[in-house]
Symmetry: C2
């Protein structure tokens, strides 16, 4: 590596002081630098391929244009890599870079990672959670500009998916197709799970608005096998099902298997709507109509909130778009 060009190199070549060179390069036209000097500095910088040493600049300005992204986990569904991608893209558009770390839910590791980022003088934090939930902000983040990502805490800026509206949307897809009776929900709804609670509330509200209600909620884990067993059991009990609202695509996948094994066709006999819009939703046949988590948009929105509205404790609820595929038909 050849040594980096410094500001003093540019200044010397342009025949001005570092002060003047700095003013020109910073674009501070309030300093009334002469046309000639401006031109010479610009030319010198270009010829030498000058790039400012941001470490030095940051030491002086106290600004690093770097954001810390701290999350319990990064790679896993449903709080997926697309969130990271969205955050990175929004940051880069605003000339920032992201320092990323995973806490694995370990408070000690979390503390250390936040300190490590603070030592590197990050300008602010994105604090993320895999599942949407209420969190308490770590002490280490106290007093530092932070936006919660897929998490909520009193008095703090946050970005979450609008699960309530998503629940309504899922139910409305069925209502629009003409379904009123025999609508079951597949997947347990633990009180502690924000997404589940809100989805169910939205579903219930939309059905109530239409003067009807859920036939039943099949309590099972959010995975193919449990869902398959739950649906099979319901069918075996003689219940009629005309439509299933599955808590996620994996549960929908299992439900699909149960229906097939029972000789029921989707969507001719039973319609299915689910949540997440994971890859699975498009691989399965028929494709699943699914309400998507706006991962990328959430990452973007969090960065935008952090950078554009530094003082406000706004909670942004992002729309969860419905992806229509072939799993819904008239009853």
């Amino acid at each position: 590596v050849t040594d980096r060009v410094r500001l003093s190199d540019v200044a010397r070549r342009a025949g001005v002081s570092p002060t003047t060179a700095s003013f020109v390069l910073a674009g501070r036209d309030d300093m009334r630098i002469s046309e000639a000097a401006t031109r010479r500095v610009r030319a010198a910088a270009a010829e030498l391929g000058y790039r400012p040493n941001r470490t030095a600049r940051s030491l002086r300005t106290q600004i690093t244009e770097t954001i810390g992204f701290v999350s319990d986990t990064i790679a896993t569904e449903p709080f997926a890599g697309a969130t990271v991608r969205g955050a990175i893209a929004a940051a880069v558009e605003r000339n920032h870079l992201l320092l990323i770390a995973e806490t694995e839910g370990d408070p000690e590791l979390e503390r250390r990672l936040i300190d490590d980022m603070l030592d590197r003088q990050v300008d602010g934090f994105l604090y993320g959670s895999m599942f949407t939930r209420e969190v308490t902000l770590p002490d280490a983040l106290d007093g530092h500009r932070t936006v919660l990502l897929n998490a909520l805490a009193p008095g703090l800026a946050a970005v979450i998916p609008d699960e309530l509206a998503a629940g309504r949307a899922a139910a409305e897809v069925l209502l629009e197709a003409g379904h009123r009776d025999g609508v079951h929900m597949v997947g347990e709804v633990p009180e502690a799970l924000f997404a589940a609670r809100e989805r169910l509330a939205g579903i219930t509200a939309a059905l109530a608005d239409a003067g009807t209600a859920l036939e039943s909620v099949l309590e099972c884990e959010w995975a193919p096998l449990p869902a398959c067993e739950a649906v099979a059991a319901m069918l075996a009990a003689g219940e009629t099902a005309k439509a299933l609202i599955c808590i996620n695509d994996r549960a929908a996948f299992g439900s699909l298997q149960a229906l097939q094994e029972a000789g029921l066709r989707v969507p001719a006999d039973v319609s299915i709507v689910s949540f997440d819009d994971s890859d699975l939703a498009q691989w399965v046949r028929p494709g699943l109509t699914s309400v998507a988590l706006p991962h990328e948009a959430m990452g973007r929105a969090a960065v935008e909130l952090l950078l554009d509205a530094p003082e406000q404790a706004i909670v942004k609820r992002l729309e969860m778009p419905v992806r229509r595929r072939g799993s819904v038909a008239a009853p």
Copy 2:
């Protein structure tokens, strides 16, 4: 935020010079600082909760303990988020942090991101690719310590999955179960695709060692529908299939559908082995025996290579472990 404690604050409280405080905190026992001074500095630092300003330190030492992770894409299969996770974990274990960015395959954006990281004085780079492939190192990275991740270039350190051995392993799973005839491969093998080429080479070699060979290669895209159609067409043409080696789990998923529709059972009538070990492999029934991409291990290995063997152009081929499930049986 209360102002950060500086080294000079610690020194004053301990009654020593910043020099002495720095030596103590840096653990430079070659400087023979007195027991008493050492104790006082340590106590003062602890009481004040001192943490060094890494920006200032970096400006002086030219070391940031920060690594730049540049990849064409980060969130997508098969070069998955687990790679990022592994890299982050290995970095944190070594007291480093990761600056992460995505180039989206755009050379201009790539150039800019690398420069942005260089401006922040990163100590080195991980340069990643979504698909394993030969790359040419961007000019901007010239002369900077770099490890390729899921990519190869002459004379450079790199971490890639051992696809050749993986191909052998897939074939051996079938051979061990007693398969010799009627083994087909599902999925096209473009010359440009390193993974495909090597997998096929490994399969071919293992079968040849056992004195047999692939019945055919079904050329189709690596997705459920194309694979389903290709397998259906083969069956319709009257070919007999006893085992399928599918280029990835999505192709295996499609193959499974085609077999089911043809009334063939897996694994009783036809065995299936595939690659990737994605979530799909465990959701499907029977579960797919699949050769896994060691994402997390690759991320870890790349960081370790970068930090522990800075001068060597080692190419690490990481083992792809076979995950055995229910899709293979004796013919």
